[in-house]
Subunit: 415 residues, 2 copies
């Protein structure tokens, strides 16, 4: 095994025992101190970030990627603010989830405990370094980070500042470690560091997530891909439908909870589509529709591929359906189990949609954009899970914990 | 993709939508009917099993494996009884886990739902076919089974009887499907049937489990490996310690919750070990001890390898420690996160052990053999999870479910 990785793994596996014993107060004080340290040491972080940005420019990195990479005083203050917010959240560790006694007198307590060591693999934005640390630390976990190669200097600088601050708080710096290497072989080996890492979370594009799912032997939580639909039922209120669709499609097009496909009941298409198309056009959204959509509005023909595509762009696919059942079947075929919405005044169809659509979050008369840890009131978010094992939808602090059974007896053995 | 597997996957993915809509009553009646069908069709099952057994004998299969493979009228009645017991358990599907309202008026309900499609890969015993079906079906899931090649005819016969019975109950037979092939390539491909299967559970030896963890792209729950310890603290009651150790070591040596290593506080070794060694000897258990153990009793020297070994045999490793801390550190180093016990009259050490040992089930003054779905009162068990993601320890019906968020609004969109 790669010595670098096994060294990081061993250090994290030791740190986790120290972290699981910390009280909420100790963790909160350390988070506050780390937040202050980030602001105090911002010139150091900005200097390292400037070197990353200069290298990115020299390599011809796109303006969009450079913007994601670039830190400013304001962005560093945002990271610090994030850590302070996490300090204010309830500590999930130690919660008694169940307690019961067996006929033989055994008292069984199911208690929430940290996961242990969490690995996070992410792409450009260096602020994830601080955000991920905050959530993992507050939930009692050690974290090993593997950031994007373009942001390596920035990530190391942020990690160093937090490690120093933790030590000043009397806590092991190994609560946060970053892999100081960028080659793919190391990333692949990290995905197999099962001896030391309890959970691996990829944060990034579809390619990164696929690679982690394919290669990891560590349990993974798959996040992010969202081919989200809105279905406008026959009985929908247009005054409700149009603002929701515009919001879900255009408020931020590059996010996983944005709407990618619209399903329209055939009996409402003539009332809905002309006004909707006008509004979408004003927001520069390209429409790709099926034949029955194109009978009502002028747009590009949609293909099967369109229905399967997460555009993350100013494009929307539209398809006409004859019933809520047809809409549900389409979503269950093409959706990615992320967020799906129905707009309807028909209670029966609303309940049918809620029950039968297979997705993390299913909405009636609201925008899919609400699938988010902050919007759900979790106070923070490490990602949106699109798998069914362990956690589904927005993942906050609780979703970074496991549990154990504590069994108290007085001499019981099995008959 | 293998056409056989994609056909099974598609059928299961369709069946899951039908199964998730079934009421508890409908499922219970179908389970009762399937139980009766197994008994009614037992001669068919016994005939097919006899062919498997004959082939096993011809291949020179060991007496132990032949015994696990062989079905009898009694064992078929046991399988039927198992299905009836599952029918009597509470249906976990539909339980509202949380319900909260956001300041913007969105009502969010977190509801327990089936996992969808569960894959199970298991070894010799054909009764797993019926047991696994019962638990998956009651929790609203379709199941695809891959049994051991030696039991293929038996497994197909059991599956066919259940499928026919389901159809007579008006339910899709595709609730249970078995892969009618035994070659390794098909098994490997099954582990990558991610498009259709939501969860894969391996049940069997360490080699099978390792292969699934290495190769699966489907989320896995790792089950079974148990290098379990009992630590006898300085203050332990010998009257409690000895029966617990004898039980944990000898009641059934081949199970994952049996005790493999004993840790003894140095100050109790002279009182404990002679009597314990005598009793272990009466149960034909071989002792392998460290130097300080061998100063008190006559036994084979223990090596580092002994401490890391899950014997599943009439062998126990013994090591002397100077404190509860040393015992905890040893367990956290060599344990497999399954079941660990302390025998003590010292409350402080008991709580320290409960808090600091990293395992699914941690015991004070009781045998590790209680780590079991029936003993925990879950009424059934699909396996013992030794990972931290999703489920830990005994897994019953609830552990075969996921959840989804149902969000009801009245026109909300994101600001």
């Amino acid at each position: 095994m790669n010595e670098l990785l096994s060294g990081l793994g061993k250090a994290a596996a030791l740190a986790k025992y120290e972290l699981q014993k910390l009280t909420a107060d100790e963790k909160n004080r350390a988070l506050q101190a780390a937040a202050e340290a980030l602001v105090r040491e911002k010139s150091l972080i900005l200097d390292e970030n400037a070197r990353d940005v200069a290298e990115g420019e020299a390599k011809g990195m796109s303006v969009g990627l450079l913007d994601r990479l670039r830190l400013t005083e304001e962005r560093i203050e945002g990271m610090a603010e994030g850590l302070k917010q996490v300090a204010e959240l309830c500590d999930p560790v130690g919660e008694v989830l169940e307690r019961f006694e067996r006929p033989n007198g055994l008292c069984i307590e199911k208690r929430r405990v940290p996961m242990g060591v969490i690995g996070i693999i992410y792409e450009s934005r260096p602020n994830v370094t601080a955000d991920a640390f905050g959530l993992c630390f507050k939930s009692g976990n050690a974290v090993i980070l593997k950031g994007g190669s373009d942001a390596l200097r920035s990530n190391i600088a942020i990690t160093d500042v937090i490690r120093c601050s933790l030590k000043e708080s009397g806590i092991t710096g190994d609560a946060i470690q970053i892999i100081p290497a960028t080659d793919r072989a190391v990333t692949l080996e990290f995905m197999r560091l099962k001896e030391y890492v309890d959970l691996l979370i990829p944060r990034g594009g579809a390619g990164l997530i696929r690679s982690v799912v394919e290669n990891s032997t560590i349990p993974v939580i798959e996040t992010g891909t969202g081919n989200c639909h809105i279905y406008v039922d026959e009985s929908a209120s247009l005054a409700m439908a149009i603002p929701i669709i515009i919001n879900a499609k255009t408020q931020r097009v590059g996010v996983c909870n944005a709407c990618e496909s619209l399903l329209v009941h055939e009996k409402i298409r003539e009332r809905l589509l002309p006004e909707l198309a006008k509004s979408l056009k004003e927001h520069c959204v390209e429409i790709r529709g099926d034949e029955r959509v194109r009978q009502v509005i002028d747009c590009i023909p949609a293909t099967e591929e369109d229905y399967a595509t997460e555009y993350l762009d100013y494009i929307i696919a539209m398809k006409t359906v004859s019933s809520a059942d047809e809409a549900i079947a389409h979503i269950n075929r093409y959706g990615t189990r992320h967020s799906e919405a129905i707009i309807t005044e028909n209670k029966e169809n609303a309940e049918k949609f809620l029950n039968e659509v297979d997705a993390a979050c299913v909405y009636v008369n609201a925008s899919t954009r609400f699938t988010d840890g902050f919007e759900f009131g979790f106070g923070a978010e490490i990602g949106i899970s699109t798998q069914k094992l362990h956690a589904r939808g927005p993942m906050g602090l609780k979703e970074l914990t496991s549990y154990k059974y504590l069994v108290r007896g007085n001499g019981q053995f099995r008959e």
